[in-house]
């Protein structure tokens, strides 16, 4: 097992209450997003005991976030089945803890923290298994197992090149240290702004920017400037 595989990213620690986050936001009266409004409504329905109605609204929330959640989870875990489970568990956790949701946090921030902590736990538990069990050949890469070899591209050579490029990129990302990887993935794969990443991770915004820049510089070096 290589050294970088042993090194585990830190679980996201509890961050300051929403008031502190809100204080950094430029406009105090920023409009509440649609998903946040929906989450508040679900919380109120659950509080009223109207669970069926809450469940039906909740599936709308899942639809809004599951693609992005799957992208993030897959980049963390590099295993589609495990990413599926991480995403499912995160949503189940969201619904069962909806009473503790506070709208001072955008729903996306709250949800993403839950998702990432779940992914980090899974990575830790996988590393633990790998320390104890015979490591086995993991078979062909994930997209090679898809009916059409992954990408919609029918050209086998193009597919092979894409697969190699992705493997190279994944291994470069894996060489980043835990915080840099989390921050970089949230920003460049999860489309979050440095301010949102700061709210998700509890790191202050300038630290996020420093991690982001260092991660990008390392990746360029690892990949020779070519993604």
């Amino acid at each position: 097992m290589s050294d970088h595989a042993v090194q585990q990213p830190e679980r996201l620690s509890p961050v300051a209450p929403p008031a502190a986050t809100a204080a950094r936001r430029p406009a105090a009266a920023a409009p509440i997003s649609e998903d946040t409004r929906l989450a508040v409504e679900i919380r109120e329905q659950v509080a009223r005991g109207d669970v069926d109605q809450a469940r039906s609204l909740f599936s709308g929330l899942v639809t809004q976030h599951q693609r992005r959640a799957s992208r993030i989870a897959y980049q963390y875990l590099r295993d589609a089945a495990e990413a599926d489970e991480a995403v499912q568990d995160a949503f189940v956790k969201v619904f069962s803890h909806i009473a503790s949701y506070r709208e001072a946090w955008p729903f996306e921030v709250w949800f993403t923290r839950i998702l990432i902590n779940g992914c980090l736990d899974r990575r830790k538990s996988r590393a633990r298994r790998e320390r104890w069990f015979v490591s086995s050949d993991d078979g062909p890469p994930e997209d090679a197992r898809l009916p059409f070899g992954g990408a919609g591209n029918p050209d086998p050579e193009a597919r092979l090149l894409a697969r190699e490029r992705r493997a190279r990129l994944a291994s470069a990302i894996d060489r980043l240290d835990g915080r840099q990887r989390t921050v970089f993935m949230l920003c460049h794969y999860g489309d979050c702004s440095p301010r949102e990443v700061s709210a998700m991770t509890g790191l202050n915004e300038s630290t996020v920017r420093v991690h982001l820049f260092r991660a990008a510089r390392k990746l360029r070096a690892f990949l020779g400037g070519q993604p």
């Binding site: 799957s70 499912q88 490591s135």
Partner: protein
């Protein structure tokens, strides 16, 4: 050329990229420099292309895997899990779930478990020796790990090749390994690991055999 004597550093270029990507206005001094300096403009273009390509590539890769059908199955699985969570008092079995959960081959699990049982037995043997040493009384963590390792739960779970739902076992396994590792961190156990180092490990044998 312009009022600038120095080119923009890489971290400033990166900052410009983030700001522009977020739809905000780039710092006017940096923007002026980029407009006037071909070298920095070229570096900026390269950096932007590099980062945009990385993001696009990752998104495409995930989207190839997480097709609309798969996302629908994910939704269904979430609803099923919420159903189960909503009925804690009754024990209901769900035979033959259709959604793909873990696709780990069971034979591999069995092999891995045999190796694990051997490895755990080796370490636990060390732990047992430690527990029975007169001065080593009262070592709850090791004793607990030992007790867990010797209950029939572990090995039979590995051999239950046809068991359909591996998820709860996986959690148990993880807890077991976590406790085992905690036990191994105890100073008195660590001393004994030097003996363990003299003994071939199941995983090494496995590697040689393959």
């Amino acid at each position: 050329m312009m009022g600038w004597t120095r080119h923009l550093r890489d971290d400033r270029l990166y900052e410009c990229y983030l700001v522009e990507r977020g739809g905000e206005a780039v710092d006017p001094r940096a923007a002026d420099h980029l407009a006037d300096c071909q070298s920095c403009a070229g570096r900026y273009r390269q950096l932007s292309e590099f980062l945009a390509t990385i993001g696009d590539e990752a998104a495409r890769e995930a989207d190839d895997l997480f097709t609309p059908e798969r996302l629908q199955q994910q939704q269904d699985a979430i609803q099923r899990k919420l159903d189960v969570a909503a009925r804690p008092a009754r024990v209901i079995s769900f035979p033959g779930q259709t959604a793909p959960t873990h696709t780990q081959p069971t034979t591999r699990v069995a092999t891995r478990w045999l190796a694990a049982a051997a490895a755990a037995g080796l370490i636990v043997g060390v732990g047992v020796g430690e527990t029975f040493r007169p001065s080593g009384a009262g070592e709850p963590a090791v004793s607990r790990a030992t007790a867990q390792a010797t209950t029939p739960r572990t090995a039979p779970a590995a051999l239950r090749v046809s068991a359909p739902a591996p998820a709860p076992d996986a959690n148990d396994d993880d807890r077991f390994l976590r406790e085992l590792e905690m036990a191994l961190q105890r100073p008195q156990t660590r001393e004994l690991l030097s003996f363990d180092n003299l003994t071939p490990h199941a995983r090494e044998i496995g590697r040689r055999v393959r």
